[in-house]
């Protein structure tokens, strides 16, 4: 049975079909709400699926294979220099994206979620206009995401890319400069470096992957450097000159001088899209940075309007948006729900990967929380060495009184996958003893977690 939308009314209307928006719409439909999902794109999935997480992972996988193959020469196994067919690689990436987005279209059909293509803006607190057509709603979820920040004063030039352009894989520039050493910038550096670009990263802060554990970030820094990527920290681009043969970036700081690049990627962060939806018409306050503030139940100042995902501010991560999406759908359906956690894991899918959750020692110091840390170096991990893994570290941050885990950082191959055990452990209130006494399979990289805990407890026999 189809719902009728004769009057353009939705019990539940979701603005934006990214990972938060579609999860929210699907959950609402599963809870019995007549649901409409609105997005300007022809396909569902938002930035994450179409031009973010997923396509970047496809390219990072290629980078990983190229890198692994070249490293096998140390093992006496030689490969020819890879030939790269950019069109085919792009097609492969597109086909992965298409299979996922069409899967989502199928899921929404099965749930009888009506998908409307268009851009929604508020008319009042119960009405939005979608490409000229008015829709009324009982409850609405704002999940309009974020967009890459363009550096002010930079010229318009098609050799200056944002992350979306970079993922289009137009060409492999022989000299590529990335402004911004955060997760996105570092992932792009990993991809293009493996594909053959000479990559330089310019980062304003004192470390790459701001917010991550300093020691782990330093290990990643060294690994990227030894793979041929040049990283300038404490360095700012002070002027940009678009010459015909190259783009000249004048830098100041730890590196002072001019970088000549064939292409430049701006990866200096993302800005919430809250200012693009005429939210004032619904009586909503939007902060100057585009963020719409919500409580833990994702409610805005209007009781029937929720907001989730990047538009609600940092951390702008898909998995946070998805959880918020479920919360908003459940609260709108009359259930009690909240995203009642600070434990949103961060992962840089670089080579090696860098992943962290909870408190880092630096954050603990800032917040006046007394913590201790323990770590296990991957140089002592049999599985890591036997798999050709490079340097790595598993670090745990814990409360010295109770031994309760408060944070974890891992740098090394597959760190993003390894982290989940620790997110669960921290959520469950696990102590060092809990982790150490849990039998981890040998030989695995996951063992390093138990080893780090044992090290703090004085029970480690592997160091």
């Amino acid at each position: 049975m189809e719902y009728l939308y004769m009057s353009n009314h939705a019990e539940f209307l979701v603005l934006g079909a990214g990972p938060g928006g579609y999860a929210c719409a699907f959950r609402a439909a599963d809870l019995g709400l007549n649901t409409v999902l609105v997005d300007p794109r022809a396909t569902l999935g938002g930035v994450c699926l179409n031009e973010g997480c997923i396509p970047s992972k496809a390219l990072l996988h290629s980078a990983e294979v190229i890198r692994e193959a070249s490293h096998m020469s140390h093992w006496g196994i030689g490969f020819e220099k890879p030939s790269i067919n950019l069109d085919k690689l792009r097609d492969k990436k597109e086909s992965i994206v298409t299979s996922l987005t069409s899967g989502l279209a199928g899921l929404s059909r099965r749930r009888k979620v009506k998908v409307v293509q268009g851009t929604g803006t508020f008319v009042d607190k119960n009405t939005v206009e979608i490409d000229g057509e008015e829709w009324t709603f009982d409850n609405l979820v704002i999940s309009v995401g974020s967009a890459p920040i363009s550096l002010p004063g930079w010229p318009d030039d098609d050799r200056i890319w944002d992350s979306r352009d970079a993922l289009e894989l137009r060409e492999i520039p022989s000299h590529l400069t990335i402004v911004g050493g955060g997760i996105i910038g570092l992932e792009m550096a990993t991809v293009y470096s493996a594909l053959g670009s000479q990559v330089q990263v310019v980062e304003m802060g004192s470390q790459i992957a701001a917010g991550s554990d300093k020691e782990c970030a330093a290990i990643l820094h060294d690994a990227l450097t030894s793979d041929g990527i040049t990283i300038h920290t404490n360095t700012q681009v002070v002027s940009v000159n678009t010459a015909s043969e190259c783009i000249e970036l004048t830098c100041d700081g730890d590196f002072t001088g001019v970088i000549e690049a064939d292409a430049v990627i701006q990866a200096v962060g993302r800005r919430a899209n809250g200012l693009k939806i005429n939210a004032e018409a619904a009586g909503l306050d939007v902060m100057p940075n585009g963020v719409i503030q919500v409580d833990s139940s994702c409610r805005t100042a209007q009781p029937n309007i929720f907001a989730i995902g990047d538009v609600t501010g940092n951390p702008m991560l898909a998995h946070r948006a998805t959880h918020q999406g479920h919360v908003a759908a459940e609260v709108a359906s009359g259930h009690s729900a909240a995203l009642d956690t600070d434990l949103i894991p961060s992962v840089a899918y670089t080579n090696p990967e860098l992943a962290w959750v909870g408190l880092t020692p630096a954050q603990a110091t800032d917040q006046g929380i007394v913590v201790k840390q323990t770590s296990f170096p991957w140089a002592a991990s049999g599985r890591n060495l036997a798999s050709g893994g490079g340097d790595g570290l598993t670090k745990l941050v814990y409360c010295p009184d109770t031994n309760r885990l408060l944070g974890a950082s891992i740098v090394g191959r597959g760190a993003g996958e390894l982290l989940s055990e620790l997110v669960l452990a921290i959520e469950m209130g696990a102590t060092l003893e809990d982790v150490a006494l849990t039998v981890h399979a040998h030989p695995t990289l996951a063992e390093t977690t138990a080893f780090a805990a044992e090290r703090a407890l004085g029970t480690l026999t592997d160091l």
Partner: protein, 294 residues
């Protein structure tokens, strides 16, 4: 950073049940809250009382709206104590009433003195003093049994516990060395300890080690009740509301003020005749407080 931890599913359930986990953790004095802690029926300690918890395992919401409230730490301590007392101690309650005409008269005479000292001389102060006097004469009542029942400890001191009803639950502060203190001192200490109990400021030193406990419901009402002995003590004195009754003095009926007294005792230590004699002595002293001097 929170002092307690609870897994995501426990936090979700707590939200659903509108349970404040921070408060629950403090009440339960627990660092880690589990799903079991959210349902009162799972509270520990009850299994000692009943072989089966099934009598309490009822979904009350089937019969109407129900509010869910975690029991407080104080409630649970009292609950464990009372359950143990009622399960372990064979208790008997002996009843009598005391003519308190003389005490009431004395209170009237001391009114000015009390005002001078800034103390309210309550009836309870007299009961405490009279009980101490009686305990000195009947040492078996000022005793405790060892856990294995093999040894009786006879106490050389006289400390009296006062059951205090507070909004946090029942508490029993103890007045030390009552036999060596005057009425005004006792009255002042009762007030001080009751106030401390009400503001949750009782220290460990203020409680425990009593010879006997008094549970005074006189200010509230009732004609009698069966108080439960507060272990490891062997007896407890209950008092209910004073009544004016006709008393035959041999020639005529005289309106007389009587306080009903209920003495519950541990029958393992005290037998019925002892209890009757004890209460007879106590009513005698209350009727003629001059006995306190001899």
């Amino acid at each position: 950073m929170k002092n307690h931890s609870a897994s995501p599913s426990v936090r979700a359930k707590a939200l659903e049940l509108s349970i404040d986990l921070e408060k629950l953790a403090a009440d339960l004095d627990k660092r880690q809250i589990t799903l079991d802690d959210l349902s009162p029926k799972q509270n520990t300690g009850r299994s000692q009382v009943a072989d089966s918890l099934s009598y309490w395992d009822v979904d009350h919401s089937l019969y109407g709206d129900v509010q869910i409230q975690a029991t407080s730490k104080i409630d649970r301590v009292a609950s464990d104590n009372l359950s143990a007392a009622n399960t372990v101690i064979p208790q008997v309650t002996h009843q009598d009433h005391a003519d308190i005409t003389a005490i009431e008269a004395l209170r009237g005479q001391f009114k000015l003195e009390a005002k001078k000292r800034g103390v309210k001389l309550t009836g309870l102060a007299f009961y405490v003093k009279a009980l101490a006097h009686t305990l000195k004469k009947f040492q078996k009542f000022n005793a405790s049994l060892s856990a294995d029942g093999q040894t009786l400890f006879l106490k050389e001191y006289v400390h009296i516990g006062i059951a205090v009803d507070t909004e946090h639950g029942l508490m029993v502060p103890v007045i030390r060395n009552v036999d060596k203190k005057g009425l005004f001192t006792i009255a002042a200490e009762i007030i001080e300890l009751a106030n401390k109990a009400k503001s949750r400021k009782l220290s460990a030193d203020d409680m425990g080690g009593a010879s006997m406990t008094i549970s005074n419901l006189g200010g509230i009402g009732g004609t009698g009740f069966t108080p439960i002995v507060n272990p490891p003590e062997v007896a407890i004195l209950g008092i209910t509301r004073t009544e004016t009754r006709p008393f035959w003095d041999g020639e005529a009926f005289v309106p007389t003020k009587f306080a009903p007294l209920d003495l519950s005792y541990d029958h393992r230590v005290i037998n019925g005749a002892d209890a009757a004699r004890f209460l007879a002595e106590l009513t005698h002293v209350l009727k003629d407080p001059r006995q306190l001097l001899v």
